[in-house]
């Protein structure tokens, strides 16, 4: 009996991450509490190694392996690289916070790495089964991480909500996928796409039915209105490092599965899902921006801002053109970096026994630490889309893509709500620069965190002045 060995080379980064995660799991067992930094170092090494490996095995053409369930193409390699970098930033920001709260445990890093693995699998998924398994791997790690601080009732509640709604969403997605399987007879995305092209113009009712379930499942996972109920509670309830993790890198993976499922798999049904995405985007922009104004807790505010950013992301995708996809990728990456900076700032300002999660805690930050205040200013400007920050270009490109397909009204609508959104971002700036500080000393932070935060903030301007770098990467990744 001989087994055909699949081509393992394209999957080397995933295998490396898996092997290292298992190694860290075991190594961590034998470490004393004061040597926990070794775990952290190994985790960062894993991400760095995976980044290097990804580009060592990279080839410009798409490679499909494991009997059509895995694909490595420029899109996947680009997205994976962003995931590594952002995850590394997340781990770096979280370390002081975890240490101060007695949460500095190996499991945070092990689960975090498995979550990264889940994202990698999603990014490289080329069949429904792999896509679903990657999504579940990621979600399972995130559920556990949200409940990670076991003494916090709010975290447990958030974890329960996240788990139940996440399971529901997975069920929806799976149900839709099973319909597609029943109709097309295959789980592989290209085969389903071929089936749809062959049957173009005469889609049966169950197909639309399946599409609805798939879109609803995706919308749930992304947190688009009206499936956004879990987002504020989870962002608010989870320990801030976990919020940081949930809010940043998974959005890139989410973009990837939308690309694989809707653009690659169900591309022939573009006309059908475009309408659904328009509805989701319109609602997300309105609800996200309007409710964010009423928030006094910055974690909740950023959660609602996430919802509105998801609206923008969907705008890029619903265009259905290469420009649209590239713009959406640009937007997603930009958003992930901005969110990382935003939540990272909360961590930087928090200290033992005190969470800088209320807007009032940012009062007079300029007097207490002008540099950090400036970084936060850049991040907020970028989220609001003020030129010349990168957030402006991200919004601009998405809007261009929408205008190109003739949906000018949608672009105008998006601009109006961006302006509404600018209000609450600029309010943070106002608090930092024009209000009197409360007499609380800022915690002293290590050099690594400060440097990365500076890079993170300055990146907003640098990429804003030279958007061409990121844009050409995005265009290359999405392909001709």
């Amino acid at each position: 009996m001989s087994f055909p060995i699949p081509d393992l080379v394209p999957a080397i980064p995933e295998m490396f991450v898996l092997a290292m995660a298992c190694t860290i799991l075991v190594v961590d067992l034998f470490l004393k509490d004061d040597r926990r930094d070794v775990t952290y170092g190994l985790t960062q090494f894993t991400l760095f190694g995976a980044l290097v490996l990804t580009w060592i095995v990279h080839v410009p053409e798409a490679r499909v392996t494991f009997s059509g369930s895995f694909i490595a193409d420029p899109l996947s390699d680009t997205l994976k690289s962003f995931i590594y970098v952002i995850a590394a930033g997340v781990f770096l920001y979280s370390r002081p916070y975890l240490k101060e709260r007695g949460l500095f445990k190996g499991e945070y890093y092990v689960l975090g790495l498995f979550a990264v693995l889940g994202m990698l699998v999603m990014v490289s998924a080329y069949s429904f089964v792999t896509l679903y398994l990657g999504l579940e791997l990621l979600s399972l790690c995130l559920y556990a991480l949200v409940a990670f601080d076991r003494d916090s009732g709010r975290a447990s509640e958030a974890a329960m909500k996240y788990f139940i709604l996440g399971a529901l969403a997975s069920g929806m997605l799976l149900y839709g996928m099973s319909f597609l399987y029943g109709l097309s007879g295959s789980l592989e995305i290209p085969v389903v796409a071929e089936y749809l092209i062959a049957n173009a113009g005469q889609f049966s009712v169950p197909l639309t039915f399946a599409l609805v379930f798939v879109v609803v499942g995706l919308a749930f996972k992304l947190g688009a209105v009206p499936f956004h109920m879990w987002v504020p509670d989870v962002y608010h309830g989870a320990p801030t490092p976990v919020t940081l993790l949930i809010g940043s890198a998974p959005k890139i993976a989410g973009f990837a599965i939308i690309m694989r499922l809707l653009a690659d798999g169900l591309g022939a049904m573009h006309a059908d899902w475009q309408g659904m995405l328009v509805l989701l985007a319109v609602l997300s922009l309105a609800v996200g921006n309007l409710i964010a104004i009423a928030q006094t807790n910055i974690k909740r505010m950023l959660a609602y801002s996430t919802i509105s950013h998801v609206g923008f992301l969907l705008l890029g995708i619903l265009a259905g053109t290469q420009e649209g996809y590239a713009a959406a990728l640009f937007y997603t990456v930009t958003y992930a970096i901005m969110a990382m900076g935003g939540f990272g700032m909360i961590i930087l300002l928090s200290r033992q026994g005190f969470e800088a999660e209320n807007l009032d805690d940012f009062k007079g930050l300029n007097e207490r630490n002008p540099w950090l205040a400036f970084m936060m200013l850049l991040l907020m400007f970028s989220m609001a889309g003020v030129p010349p920050t990168v957030g402006f270009y991200a919004k601009l490109m998405v809007l261009q893509a929408v205008v190109q397909i003739g949906m000018t009204w949608l672009a105008v609508y998006a601009v109006i709500f961006s302006i509404v959104g600018a209000f609450y971002y600029l309010r943070v700036v106002k608090l930092m620069y024009f209000d009197k500080p409360a007499d609380e000393p800022l915690p002293v932070r290590g050099l690594d965190v400060t440097v990365v935060m500076s890079v993170n903030g300055l990146l907003m301007v640098v990429l804003g002045i030279f958007p061409g770098i990121l844009m050409s990467i995005a265009a290359l990744a999405v392909g001709p």
Partner: protein
């Protein structure tokens, strides 16, 4: 009606009955047992479809292990079912309406006529489907299979992370320590001068 068809209807009737009973009976332990019965009959149905591996594994894993632990928990927890049922009658009309609407939609939209369903070809007699499944899992589906393994690993790590903790101050008893105790650990003989009058 052939023998097989008769068996199919018998098993299906039991399955549907058990499933209905599971969500309607008052006692959680009875509900869990009804679920066991439902699993068992669906395993029988699978075996009738020549999917003997799946059928037996359903019994082995779900009935033999998962449901045992489930019962374990239900028996330990002593769920107060009356409180859970308070809203049942009140929401029944709305629920029934939604369910009926869903059922109508499903029946209209989802029918066998849309799907490429061919009756499965009779399996080759020389190779059991256990072996076939094994081959497929380790060749064509090796990637999803390994991913499922990783998910299970994560589930273990997550469960242990969330439950295992050393709480100071609990009166935890370690029988092994108790057994090891020697007389010297418990009793100290103090030599004292006899008290003077």
């Amino acid at each position: 009606m052939s023998f097989q068809l008769a068996m199919f209807y018998i098993f299906s009737a039991i399955l549907v009955g058990a499933a209905a009973a599971m969500i309607t009976v008052r006692n959680p332990v009875h509900a869990a047992l009804c679920l066991v019965l439902a699993f068992f009959t669906s395993a029988a149905l699978w075996i009738m479809m020549e999917a003997e591996f799946l059928g037996i594994v359903l019994v082995l894993v779900y009935v033999g292990a998962v449901m045992v632990l489930f019962l374990f928990v239900v028996m330990m927890l002593d769920v107060n079912i009356a409180r859970l049922r308070e809203g049942f009658i009140r929401f029944l009309p709305v629920g029934a309406l939604v369910a009926a609407a869903m059922a109508v939609v499903m029946i209209m939209v989802v029918g066998a006529r849309h799907f490429r369903i061919e009756p499965p070809a009779p399996a080759a007699t020389d190779v059991g489907n256990t072996e076939m499944l094994g081959r497929l899992i380790y060749t064509e589906y090796v990637y999803p299979f390994e991913l499922a393994a990783v998910i299970l690993l994560v589930a273990i790590v997550a469960a242990i992370t969330l439950t295992l903790r050393r709480r100071p101050g609990t009166r935890h008893i370690d029988p092994a320590e108790q057994v090891k105790v020697k007389r010297e650990d418990r009793i100290r003989i103090v030599k004292m001068e006899a008290e003077k009058k």
